[in-house]
Symmetry: C2
């Protein structure tokens, strides 16, 4: 007996069962898909991209970033939290100043591939 919630939502006839089974078996686990979407989501905003680009050049304090992008300290701080959550940036405090830096090299490679794609259109 099939639950109402388990009714297939595909409203067309399946064409290639073999392809679907093959692909289905190789689909990444849900947790990885979720994390990957979160990572790319953090890269999908121009403000955060600018912050990350800046940090590829030099570590910077929040005030520096705020001045560089001509945006409020609050807006920058909120976005830095997003970048912290996906572990793209790390920070260390010197007195009351907080310096942010890239957390690993993946950002550089993601930018490289991304720019390579958008520039070849």
């Amino acid at each position: 007996m099939q639950n109402i919630n388990e009714l297939p939502k595909c409203d067309c006839n399946v064409i290639h069962h073999d392809v679907i089974e093959k692909v289905s078996a190789e689909m990444p686990v849900a947790e990885h898909l979720y994390d990957l979407a979160e990572l790319f989501k953090s890269l999908s905003d121009q403000t955060r991209l600018k912050i990350l680009f800046a940090l590829t050049k030099s570590e910077m304090c929040v005030c520096d970033i705020s001045a560089l992008l001509d945006m409020s300290q609050s807006a920058i701080s909120h976005q830095l939290r997003v970048l912290r959550n996906v572990r793209l940036v790390r920070y260390h405090k010197v007195g009351k100043i907080v310096y942010y830096a890239l957390d690993d090299d993946h950002v550089n490679e993601l930018f490289k591939q991304g720019l390579d794609h958008v520039e070849h259109q």
Copy 2:
């Protein structure tokens, strides 16, 4: 004479002028930043990630994808449009069936770097 709209929004004192000038000079142009954000935005949704993952394994028609993800044909079609807009996928028609495929190899590399990042936490 400074326009009201040109007042700096940074409400703190600049700490490191030299860093800001250096980084500012190397910031990518606005158009590239915009395109890059659009590209990553297209990768920031689990449905689109699943579609792209599937297409790394095999080209598929819309109905196949709809069945694979157990989602409506309309939802899939809307998302495929997003992926077309950033030129991540291409398609060809055979009769009334439309087959989608990856448009280039950047997706594979972006996935690789992205997964590498999320799996090392």
